[in-house]
């Protein structure tokens, strides 16, 4: 079981910054995220877009802001459970919590900070009626283990980077790779598009454009799919796996069933004090919470995290003396490795 002081659900900008503010109070943090990398919406939706309203940065790329946050929190040595979704929460008799992910990883902490944004990012399903019946029986929305497709006939659907990249990658593993896309153009990186073209020429990728998978067939698992071509009509292809790669979308998901007060897909918090929820010991910060006048901005999430850790400290250290807020310019910061970062002392020379 992973043990920590503050268990943060969501490694978006707000979850990441919480590590810094908690670190200043000598509290350790562990983060869980459904995505395989930290960064939340900034990493998943708009890594290459500039942001203009981060104080002190006239402009910063979303991806760069995340890299900077990671650097800023590095002294506080956060640990991560990535690519897993926080699924259930259990309150123990001593008031602490055990949070278990969809893969069974257990985490124990006296304080849980939900920084889940709009929810965990989950794959989007194409609207094929019978698709749910074949999930994990030949239909996969995420490629976890490429070797799983060794010597298999696979169909990848989609026109973005992941459809292109996986089609390229799996040509060296699978028996047959077919890429199905609705248009003749692709949205992916030019380099990947060129590579796919080359592999099509060499007969390694079977490319079907202006086409869509419309039906799935098979007894207990996927055996074939029907593909609709805009002009040529329908044809059926024998396959072992159908992998639709149409990007990810956020969904509040299991957190909605944790007994927290929810309003319009967000967790109600007490913004007059510390962003606590209706369950003592659980806080909600960033895009995931709501209160009168709430604004879903990175800046506001950073503020909420800063306030929240003060209350978290009191829960974790009930007998400690009153906390006094210190400026980092004055006190510097000492990471958990004992290395202190502070401003250089002025050198004075006697005359």
């Amino acid at each position: 079981m992973i043990k920590t002081d503050i268990l943060i659900i969501g490694a978006g900008p707000v979850g990441l910054f919480t590590v810094f503010e908690a670190g200043l109070l000598k509290l350790r943090c562990h983060l869980i995220d459904a995505l395989p990398i930290p960064g939340g919406q900034l990493a998943e939706i708009y890594p290459k877009k500039p942001i203009y309203d981060i104080p002190g940065y006239p402009s910063v790329l979303a991806g760069e802001l995340i890299t900077n946050l990671e650097e800023q929190i590095a002294p506080f040595q956060p640990t991560y459970t990535l690519g897993e979704r926080a699924e259930t929460i259990k309150k123990l008799d001593d008031g602490s919590f055990v949070v278990t992910t969809n893969k069974g990883t257990e985490h124990h902490a006296p304080v849980v900070a939900i920084a889940g944004g709009l929810g965990s990012f989950e794959p989007r399903k194409p609207p094929i009626k019978e698709i749910v019946d074949y999930e994990d029986k030949g239909v996969e929305y995420i490629i976890r283990e490429p070797n799983f497709y060794k010597d298999k006939k696979i169909i990848i659907a989609g026109g973005g980077d992941s459809a292109l990249d996986w089609s390229i990658f799996l040509t060296s593993i699978a028996k047959e790779v077919t890429l199905v896309h609705r248009r003749t153009e692709f949205r992916g990186a030019l380099d990947s598009v060129e590579k796919v073209k080359e592999l099509v020429k060499k007969g390694k990728i079977n490319l079907l454009t202006e086409s869509e998978v419309v039906e799935i067939h098979g007894q207990d698992k996927v055996e074939s799919v029907t593909i609709k071509h805009t002009q040529e009509g329908n044809k059926t292809l024998e396959v072992d796996h159908f992998i639709p790669l149409f990007g990810l979308s956020p969904k509040l998901g299991p957190i909605a069933n944790w007994g927290l007060e929810i309003e319009k897909n967000a967790i109600v918090v007490d913004n007059a004090t510390d962003y606590s929820t209706n369950i003592p010991g659980i806080f909600a910060i960033g895009d995931v919470n709501t209160y009168p006048g709430k604004l879903k901005l990175i800046l506001c999430g950073f503020h909420e995290a800063t306030i929240m850790v003060q209350s978290a400290y009191k829960i974790i250290n009930p007998d400690a003396k009153k906390l006094v807020m210190k400026y980092t310019t004055v006190s510097g910061i000492t990471g958990f490795d004992g290395v202190k970062k502070e401003q250089q002392k002025a050198v004075t020379t006697k005359i």
Binding site: E122, R124, F246
Partner: protein
Amino acid sequence: MKENTIKVTITDREGKTHKLDAPTDMNMNVMELVRAYELAPEGTIGICGGMAMCASCQCYVETPELELPEMSMEEEDMLDQAFYVKENSRLGCQIYLKDELDGLKVELAPESEISE
């Protein structure tokens, strides 16, 4: 038509039709109008904030007589990735409310399903 407002009719995902007063002096788009009138639950529309990057605001335009802004490459690309796309599909976030669009009628496309 009141000054700086037009009438826009939106059919929500439950099939209910709403006749709305839409401001034309706020640089607002159809996605934002839907959000302002709370015609779709939070988190189901406007996920990318109106950058033609999520298709959660896809709608079917039912007034072909009104001249809409031309589709940008980004909008075309995004609609190409989206589901339930029809001939008259557009991204609501790319349709800005202007006087010329008085009487605009759109229907919201179904929400894409998310895997569990």
